[in-house]
Symmetry: C2
Subunit: 355 residues, 2 copies
């Protein structure tokens, strides 16, 4: 089982180190190779996703990813910015299915912006299509407008698009995920305005007929942004396109109050996957040894489950994380009075011990 380890920038190296430590303790035959990605790769090799890194990722069964980005790269041309590495990996590996659980851990209810009764027990799975939509649609660029409000003026444009089979495959992923959960899928679109959304909705309805045991409903994206705030627990599986999924999954994870706990998985059709925490590279706290490694450790568990077929090992990690929370260990981001504040490394050690 080959794993490409790509720590990236900011807190990436610190949190990935803890996840690797945990993986090593499991006594599985894991072959792990590390490479640069993001801003550090740009500095070393002139590109955020160097050829060698991409090759390593492609040849691996799974990629364990930290985080990329730093304000200091904001001025670079877009193609050299750290985030392009993640877009390049998604595209080149065909990682079309992004799983982002938004879970509120019992012990961390107080960390949420939301009132406890609205958030306690929250367990939503957001499934975001990840290789289509306006993220990758062509044509795109700048040109002189020939119509619209200001013909003759400079304009910029992008293309939103989804094809039927692209929607079909993510629909199947969502319905099958719902079958293992509470059997409800909410498909989010903007069909009252967008052609793309109308096809999205039509295909969701069609595919849904193959899953009579799963209840399907539809919600407009603006309403979904509201309902996540109003009554997040009403959702089970929420499936949506790349752009809306970007916004709603971040909103949902922040609602839990402990985004430092939330893993994510991005899979292709052969279950090869990229696993990363839902949070970013947090350059402001990088190098201080205080970042929360649990989202990355839980991402490693997802990796064992989805790409490496090691369900038992995945569960061992998840149980260990539960245990350290019960024991009261907290990194700074989830600390509250009466608990024990620990460093990144101490948190990794605590998980190791709990394994």
């Amino acid at each position: 089982m080959k794993i490409a380890v790509l720590p990236g920038d900011g807190i990436g190296t610190e949190i990935v180190a803890e996840a690797v430590k945990v993986l090593n303790a499991l006594d599985l035959k894991l072959e792990m190779d590390t490479a640069l990605v993001g801003g550090c790769a740009y500095e070393a090799h002139g590109h955020p996703l160097p050829e060698a890194t991409l090759k390593l990722a492609k040849e691996a069964d799974a990629v364990l990813f930290g985080a990329v980005g730093d304000w200091k790269y904001d001025k670079l041309e877009r193609q050299f910015r750290p985030e392009q590495a993640i877009l390049g990996l998604r595209k080149n590996l065909g990682l079309f299915a992004n799983f982002r659980p938004a879970i509120c851990y019992e012990q961390l209810v107080g960390a949420s912006s939301l009132k406890p009764e609205l958030i306690a027990g929250l367990d939503i799975l957001i499934i975001r299509e990840l290789t289509g939509d306006i993220y990758f649609g062509q044509p795109r660029g700048r040109r002189i407008a020939t119509d619209g409000h200001f013909p003759g003026a400079e304009e910029a444009f992008d293309t939103m698009r989804y094809s039927r089979p692209e929607i079909e495959r993510i629909a199947h992923v969502a319905f099958q995920a719902a079958q293992k959960r509470n059997k409800r899928v909410t498909s989010v679109d903007k069909n009252n305005v967008l052609e793309t959304s109308q096809l999205w909705k039509d295909v969701m309805v069609e595919v849904g007929q193959q899953y009579p045991d799963v209840e399907l409903d539809h919600m407009l994206v603006d309403n979904a942004a509201m309902q996540l705030v109003k009554a997040p627990k009403k959702f089970d599986v929420l499936v949506t396109g790349n752009m809306f999924g970007d916004i709603l999954s971040d909103e949902a994870s922040m609602l839990t109050g402990s985004i430092g706990m939330l893993p994510s998985a991005s899979l292709n059709s052969s279950n090869q996957g990229l696993y990363e925490p839902s949070h970013g590279s947090a350059p402001d706290i990088a190098g201080k040894g205080i970042a929360n490694p649990l989202a990355t450790i839980l991402s490693a568990a997802m990796m064992l489950r989805f790409s490496l077929n090691q369900e038992a090992a995945a569960q061992r990690i998840e149980a260990a994380v539960k245990k350290v929370l019960e024991q009261g260990f907290r990194t700074a981001d989830i600390y509250s009075e009466g608990t024990t504040k620990v460093s990144t490394k101490e948190m990794g050690d605590a998980v190791l011990k709990a394994l």
Copy 2:
């Protein structure tokens, strides 16, 4: 001063009636004409925005709008659905600047999903561009894909676009609004992915140089969706495009917990405007006389201020609304123990009395 009154569907007629009552009590020379819009217009005339309604709106100084839509129209072809009326009005009247305040009233802090300390005193102004972006961009439709993941498959597509002068004019609106407030503008885009957003950001920076007294910062849309949950009070004016504005303004208004209190204004370059509550047509409670008319009454106040140049009258209405809240009157949506539950009509009467 000519006002086109378009109550629309659902609770629209009930809430607009109360706003008209309040306007009539002001002793201004207001000429008000009513017309059908939305689903009821479709039923009566075969179109959600009949020619006569559009003409009335165009010739008026301002439009007072209720709400449109009902689930029973969901199956209609898109061009006949009630929402098309609102898109048609925006387009035909050139209403490019949408103002959506997200305010948390002192007395209603408890109605929010958020913890009181996060939301008390909230006062954000969201400025959404309303006639451009992917809402109106051409080309759009269905076709057979010639590239992408599945060449040969059916696909749907839409075009996101913004021209430089379109961004410039909304930027000026935002900076000028900020000058009257806390002098901070947050421009929200997705420049790490979209060409359109890169131009958006570039133009915001350029226009910002003309407003050295206003502080400008930039935020990615996914991060904005998170920061609204995490620390909403950090925002002053948030300016963004049509699509992102749709999502973020709804998220922000739901954060306040009292969307039934929030007005909105949509203006063109001659200050002709459309005024409507931020909430929808709520067909589930239509006809019951329990809807909250305050958002519509406050929209009428915005109308007096922005389109009719009647600042004093606007302030009278706003003061009256504050007073009825202090007096403890509450419609069902904002009711809590210890306050007086009133009907739509009783709330309108209370405002009249407080004037």
